[in-house]
């Protein structure tokens, strides 16, 4: 009897040990590869408020001097900018332009694909799926040709809008698909019921359809805004004049100049540039995962 009891106990103990080992292995595989990433983010914050080069993620003296770019001229090696705000405006214009070019078209197409019957509807949907798989970035050379042909190259702000237009065009298939999904998700019976109760078609659209769809459209719009804000490759390729650099291209040009790196200033500008993205993802995390928007990004 004693013997049986002790072997039972040792079995439990062994099971408990095995469980702990499992937990340790699981968490180390999940978290150890993440340490570099978390350290990097930690460093970015630490460096932006630190006097000297930060020691790892520990600030080296506290200062807000690095954020002087918000009001004073910035000097990075050879290039000097009177002010950061024109660059911010460029980024903003790019982001807003992308959204404005993209969302109305995608919303209209999504509505048509979801609610109207027409010939070629299925073919259009297949085309969208095919385009979603097809990598747009390999078309940059031809898009450069088009930009030249429609006279938007080397035209300052117009070029910026051209970049927004191209960015929007490359994003339209995906957004159309997501918005079609939204319209699909609204049961037709809802509209029907309202009309049976005597509301006109316009009232139905205004009072029933729009309130349901608006949050979805604004989520997609915000997402496309973030895409425009973070855009680097197309802007870098097509925008050659420094006054019209968005922040991303500006930062890239600074990183490329190896020699005089002021890490503190660089980190502060980078953090400033990243702030909208961080806020957006912190707020919208749940919605994004639910909409599978994050997975929908190419990569």
């Amino acid at each position: 009897m004693m013997n049986g009891n002790s072997s039972y106990k040792s079995k439990i103990r062994r099971a408990r040990i095995r469980r702990w080992i499992t937990i340790i292995v699981v968490y180390s595989i999940l978290l150890i590869p993440l340490t570099p990433i978390l350290l990097m983010v930690g460093w970015l914050v630490a460096q932006s408020i630190s006097k000297g080069p930060a020691i790892g993620i520990i600030p080296n003296g506290f200062t807000l001097e690095n954020f002087r770019f918000l009001w004073a001229p910035i000097r990075f090696g050879l290039s000097e900018y009177p002010n950061i705000w024109p660059l911010v405006m460029n980024s903003l214009l790019l982001a807003l332009g992308t959204t404005a070019f993209e969302i109305p078209v995608a919303a209209l197409a999504g509505y048509v694909l979801s609610r109207m019957e027409f010939r070629g509807r299925m073919a259009t949907m297949k085309l969208i799926v095919a385009l979603h798989a097809f990598p747009g970035v390999i078309l940059l050379i031809a898009l450069f040709y088009i930009l030249n042909r429609i006279g938007l190259y080397g035209k300052g702000l117009l070029t910026l809008l051209g970049v927004a237009l191209i960015k929007a065009g490359l994003g339209v298939p995906m957004d159309t698909w997501i918005l079609k999904g939204f319209f699909d998700g609204i049961p037709w019976e809802l509209e029907w019921a309202a009309m049976v109760d005597g509301s006109t078609r316009f009232q139905t659209w205004r009072k029933i359809l729009l309130p349901i769809v608006a949050p979805g459209i604004s989520a997609v719009a915000l997402f496309s805004f973030m895409g425009g804000w973070g855009e680097f490759l197309i802007a870098y390729t097509y925008i050659k004049r420094k006054e019209f650099y968005p922040l991303s291209v500006f930062l890239y040009s600074v990183i490329g100049e190896f020699v005089y790196v002021d890490w503190g200033l660089l980190a502060a500008v980078a953090l400033f540039y990243m702030l909208p993205v961080l806020i957006f993802y912190a707020l919208a995390q749940k919605t994004l995962l639910k909409l599978q928007l994050v997975g929908a990004v190419k990569g």
């Binding site: 990097m40 078309l139 065009g169 339209v172 659209w205 890239y252 100049e257 980078a270 997975g295």
Partner: protein, 331 residues
Amino acid sequence: MSNIFSFPPFFEKFVRKLKELKFKIPVRFLRKALPYIFILPFFGYIMLTWIAPVIITIVLSFTKTQWTITRMEFSGLENYFRIFTRDIFVFSALRVTVLYVSSVLMINAFFSLLLAILVTYFVRNESVAAAIRLAWLIPRITPAVIYALLWRWFIDPRIGLLNKMLSMFNLPAPHDWLLTAPYSQILMIVVNGYVGASFGMIIYSAAITSIPRELFYAASIDGASDLQVIRHIIVPLLKWPIFFVTVWQTLSLISSYEHILALWAGGAGVARAAGVEVWALYAYSRAFYSAEYGYGAALSVFLVIIGLVFIVIFFKIFGFERMMQPSKVEV
């Protein structure tokens, strides 16, 4: 049943107005035309940014276009001869691409599977699991330039942490991660691996979540260990998602170069000297650094063809349904 598809209200209003004004308008015709009118801007965009560029890439590839992209000068197959016979960089670009795609694919398609299984099956606390997933998303949602800057710091021999961490474990710490060949290639793989891991992770996690719980309960009553559950239940059921992610990621890796361009900043020769210039980046640098647009287009044509072939494969193997819902599990 014809009511399934509603028309937007202003259209009805418009039609009523027209009737009031006693216009003789073919309402039926308008009804038929309306969807096309609405979807026209969409097709305008598609033409402008997808269809026309594919055609222009192909046309440009048969020209000797240099310096000014709008001045085309046809040269027949000249560019293609050059690629196959005279260009010494083509082979190295090809080799780097094969190394890049195959290695990063291991992370994006298979390591991400491991991550998804661990975070979905083992981590019981839902908010902990969500936090881990979000942390893995950081490399993807960080703008490419910032991500490159962070790595720049991390690998910096003087102030970065990587070499300090490596020497803590008595591992060799090369002075220059960025430009010395095997190390720069390791860096390229790791940097891009972090970006891609979350894609597979999200799709797999959704798939694992949709496996009926009863299967796990039944297995554990029968005495199956966790490893057996993974091997005999989860992985077989995830056959299609794994396949999908693998094919999808292969295509997007073949054509991706943004993060390499961002990290190896500083102009044309940097990525080439570091041995990280993949085919897509090589085509890009021919066009935009040496202004050889025709030649760059010829190099891109190969990528366009690969892209089109993959789309055919997608539709043939996965079909429309599975492409829409890659994380659906068929039990």
